[in-house]
Amino acid sequence: MKGELNVSQSIIGWSRDQMAQRAALDIPDGAYVNLGIGIPEKVARYVPEGREFIYHTENGLLGMGPEPELTELDPDLINAGKKPVTAIAGAAYFHHGDSFSMIRGQHIDVCVLGAMQVAQNGDLANWSTGAKDAIPAVGGAMDLVAGVKTIFVITQHTTKTGESKLIEACHYPLTGQGVVSRIYTDLAVIQVTSRGFELIELAPGVDFDYVAKRTGAHLWDGR
């Protein structure tokens, strides 16, 4: 976003917007796409020239458009994050049974989600830290990772305290097993393969060793 001051942005590597922009490059024209809350939402701002994506929001809308003007706010037209949205010309509304049939019936092509932890076998943890006093809340995350054909994760490479989010095995409760295809971090694009994490691309100004040192599992150089 123009003029946005982003305090969580790394000093080197990609900004949150650049991570979203990089992920958008890997989504094919005509894809049905579900975007998670947070950085994944930004993907919609960076649709590559000449491509059209159709956005699904699991509360019951296919053909979600951008945020409305303040004068057009409609409390009955919201996204899965309960924020006001618009519907494009050609949109469709449906109930939760149909909406989750789109997800669980493998009709959605790509889902972009945030993560707390991703393991080298593609396990994802993004709904709970398992803390005793936390109120557990899962929403549609488990349905999305189980049903959508391709799962992309956008996340900072490390936590605020410097621990890697890309690790050998998740210790937080899982959202799904072996579900993640590709990870877009502030430092790199990493593919989950049968042999583990494989580096596809480095962010500008970052070298392989820098990323490998901040990855909590073996990192193969797949370039």
């Binding site: 037209l77 919201i78 049974g97 396990d123 557990p136 899962v138 549609g140």
Partner: protein, 236 residues
């Protein structure tokens, strides 16, 4: 003559009994039947099991029903949202039970029971804490968890239009859980923004056919939950 219109919200919810399972439509405030929920607070039925995606916000609607001590168990996918403190406080104090269900599994459990299906298998939640203790079966190279259908004694939902037969339309994403809850409940109670003549809704445009609906209350200018929360309103 069939006429499902009911004179008041109070009459419509009068027979909701202690210990009933009540499905309440809505995703956040979109589609929340707030006037019916307030009528249920006035009516006072206790020890309810409530099925909703969330647990309400502020001190009105579903949050107020919980705050009033009428709900002993919530079945939902996302019990905390912005401005939601009633449920989290009671849950931490051990005063309310929670059955956490993935959102799509929740929808499918509701849809299945409405279609007469007692159980089904889904890959959602395999290998996670939410699959613990559930039967897992292998089909075509993949593991699936068995989930059971979810029935209710009553459903409270909100519609845009209703006719005397109970045919319904909805407004945008306020539709969410309402059509499947109407199918899964023994008695479905609707608050409609507009009650119209039979035939005014094009049969091609009916979303919920009247067979799934029992009672309709006309609420032409429903309250907006987020505005009440912003104003700090408390019900009752």
């Amino acid at each position: 003559m069939i006429n499902k219109f009911c004179q008041s919200a109070a009459l419509a919810v009068a027979d909701i009994f202690d210990g009933a399972t009540v499905m309440i439509g809505g995703f956040g405030e979109a589609g929340s039947p707030i006037e019916l929920i307030h009528a249920l607070i006035d009516q006072g039925a206790k020890n309810l099991t409530v099925v909703n995606n969330n647990t309400g916000s502020g001190q009105v609607g579903l949050a107020a029903l919980i705050a009033n001590g009428q709900v002993s168990k919530m079945i939902c996918s996302f019990p905390r949202t912005a401005n939601s403190t009633v449920f989290p406080d009671l849950y931490r104090a051990g005063k309310i039970e929670l059955e956490l269900v993935p959102q799509g599994t929740l929808a499918e459990r509701i849809r299945a029971s409405g279609a007469g299906i007692p159980a089904f298998y889904t890959p959602t939640s395999v290998g996670t804490p939410l699959a613990e203790g559930k039967e897992v079966r292998h089909f075509d190279g993949r593991d699936y968890v068995m989930e059971t259908g979810l029935k209710a004694d009553f459903a409270l939902i909100k519609a845009k239009q209703a006719d005397r037969y109970g045919n319904l339309t909805y407004n945008k994403t306020a539709r969410n859980f309402a059509p499947i809850m109407a199918m899964a409940a023994k008695t479905t109670i609707v608050q409609a923004n507009a009650c119209v003549e039979a035939g005014d809704i094009d049969p091609e445009s009916v979303i919920t056919p009247g067979i799934f609906v029992n009672r309709i209350v006309s609420i032409d200018t429903p309250m907006q939950e987020s505005l009440l929360v912003q104003e700090g309103r408390v019900y009752p």
